[in-house]
């Protein structure tokens, strides 16, 4: 790996947002290809964050500060990515379902997906089915990520999926679900395409769903 990108990778992994921003600026100034900066420096670092999370070496705070460093770098890199026409890994419409205001899990998934190079459309929390339908309608193809913390709000996942089906948009999207009480079995019951038990696994699942689309 290019030495500058290695420094960027390390800064993100350590959650040092100021160093990360400085290293990405140095890489831009050195005319390194923006796609290479994104993939080899930033996405690779966030992928390592996910690996360390799954290995039990990182927890939520480490994930948050790494994502913050990645975002600080992305602010500088984004104009270059647009100029160079670098495509995102895919678009994800994400939100917590109607009736559920607990958003930390959803935020972590959004951060990790963004770190994996996905474009995020964050609808926020307590999102009604018609808002998801509206967001999906305005995209050509996308992933939909639904989050619920409570058993009492899990049925909203089915309502959202049913609304997407009723709007004739189901074939345009892949739908993933997650949240503390959600299970693989439940995901199948409500007609989702996949389930992830944490933010890191959500990234793996998102890549699989994009490939399968």
């Amino acid at each position: 790996m290019n030495e500058m990108l290695k420094k960027l990778f390390d800064a993100i992994l350590e959650g040092d947002q100021h160093a990360a921003a400085a290293h990405v600026q140095a890489a831009i100034d050195a005319d390194i290809d923006p796609g290479e900066i994104l993939n080899d420096g930033m996405v690779a670092a966030m992928s390592e964050v996910g690996r360390l999370y799954e290995a039990g070496e990182f927890y939520v705070p480490e994930m948050l500060i790494a994502a913050r460093a990645m975002q600080a770098s992305m602010v500088l890199l984004k104009p270059k990515l647009i100029q160079s026409n670098v495509k995102s890994a895919g678009k994800v419409v994400i939100g917590t379902v109607k009736g559920d205001l607990h958003d930390i899990g959803k935020n972590l998934v959004a951060l990790m997906l963004e770190g994996a190079g996905f474009e995020i459309v964050d609808l926020g929390s307590d999102v009604a089915p018609d808002k998801f339908v509206e967001a999906v309608r305005s995209q050509e193809r996308c992933l939909v990520a639904l989050s619920a913390l409570l058993t009492t709000t899990m049925p909203s996942m089915k309502n959202i999926i049913d609304a997407i089906v009723a709007a004739g948009l189901r074939q345009n999207v892949k739908i993933m679900v997650g949240g503390a009480p959600v299970t693989e079995t439940f995901a199948k019951q409500v007609g989702a395409d996949g389930y992830a038990s944490d933010a890191s696994k959500a990234v793996t699942l998102a890549h699989q769903l994009v490939k399968a689309a």
């Binding site: 927890y59 939520v60 705070p61 009736g99 205001l101 935020n107 058993t151 944490d198």
Partner: protein, 339 residues
């Protein structure tokens, strides 16, 4: 033998005559049960074994628009979640306590119900509850994600905030210990569905030393320490027992092996909770609920266990499932012999 004695026997593994229980309900679940027992006092129906004294987390001022403000100044939006709500805004916008005044730990409202509760339910085990007792109190004031990043960005502030919260709690604990209570129950969720939120290293660095102080105030008075901490936290049990923990709640079967933990911690740590609120109660049949309840009662028959669902019974639990576990616990032979 009164309920208080049964609880004490269970907590000491001294072969209680039956497994005691204590069940709390969310408001919608309670309404469902009340509709089934019109005009009856649900305390008489459920026959709980604990009485909560003190204010717990339930001192709020209604500020309109479905919002309440707690005594620390944190605003809670209850437009959707009627029982607790969701924190709105950020009380401490900067990593500093400058200008912030803690509430009076000895305010009359904290102790207002103690004498009345002890008089009305004097036959029960007496618990003084401190909800949002440390980490949760800190993040409700600072914001969850912000506090998580403060562990790295502003560690001295986090230490100061947590210790200030502990000072408030310890002052309150010392005052409540003047009453004839049995235990203090701290509430503080550290877990996710899988693993700790902040990880063991940060937990040990920031939370553990402060817990040691708070638990010490209870232990030195010869009272029991209970903790309610949701999620996958059993990796902390040995450390918690080492600083005086006696009983762990909510004991969620989806995140820890309840069947293994009761015998594993025999004579070290008792458990309170255990009945699945993520799967069995909302989605299981009456038979599933009865089977799981009987299994838990069997596990706890020689002590070390207090039966309860692993959360205040949520609103999506069918009435018949509530009635099923109530029926099972109240038909324990040892209980029937005493009533």
């Amino acid at each position: 033998m009164d309920k208080r004695t049964v609880m004490k026997l269970a907590l000491e593994w001294e072969n209680p005559p039956y497994v005691p229980w204590n069940i709390n309900f969310t408001i919608p679940a309670m309404e469902k049960l009340q509709a089934y027992y019109p005009g009856k006092d649900l305390e008489d129906v459920v026959q709980n074994h604990m009485v909560n004294v003190g204010y717990d987390i339930y001192f709020y001022e209604d500020i309109g628009n479905d919002c309440v403000r707690d005594n620390f100044g944190v605003v809670w939006d209850r437009s959707v979640d009627l029982d607790i709500g969701i924190v709105k805004g950020q009380l401490l916008e900067q990593p500093s306590l400058a200008g912030y005044i803690f509430p009076d730990p000895l305010a009359p409202y904290v102790f207002a119900n103690v004498a009345g509760q002890l008089k009305e339910y004097g036959d029960r085990y007496r618990i003084f509850g401190i909800g949002f007792s440390l980490y949760e109190r800190a993040w409700t004031m600072r914001g969850l994600q912000t506090l998580m990043t403060d562990f790295y960005d502003n560690p001295q502030f986090v230490h100061m905030l947590l210790n200030s919260i502990a000072d408030y709690n310890i002052t309150q604990i010392n005052a409540i210990l003047k009453y004839d209570i049995d235990a203090v129950m701290f509430g503080d969720d550290w877990g996710q569905q899988h693993r700790l939120q902040m990880g063991p290293r940060l937990w040990h660095e920031f939370i553990y030393p402060v817990l040691k102080r708070m638990y010490g105030a209870v232990v030195s008075a010869g009272k029991k320490v209970f903790i309610h901490s949701c999620g996958d936290v059993d990796e902390l049990f040995d450390d918690l027992v080492g600083i005086g923990l006696n009983c762990f709640n909510p004991f969620q079967p989806e995140v820890m092996d309840v069947s293994a933990l009761i015998p594993q911690y025999r004579h070290k740590l008792a458990f309170y909770g255990g009945l699945s609120t993520q799967q069995t109660l909302p989605y299981g049949t009456v038979m599933d609920v009865r089977r799981e309840t009987r299994h838990l009662l069997e596990l706890g028959k020689t002590g070390g266990y207090i039966f309860s669902p692993a959360h205040d019974v949520p609103k999506d639990v069918p009435l018949e499932n509530m009635l099923a576990f109530i029926d099972e616990i109240q038909h324990q032979p040892g209980y029937l012999n005493l009533v």
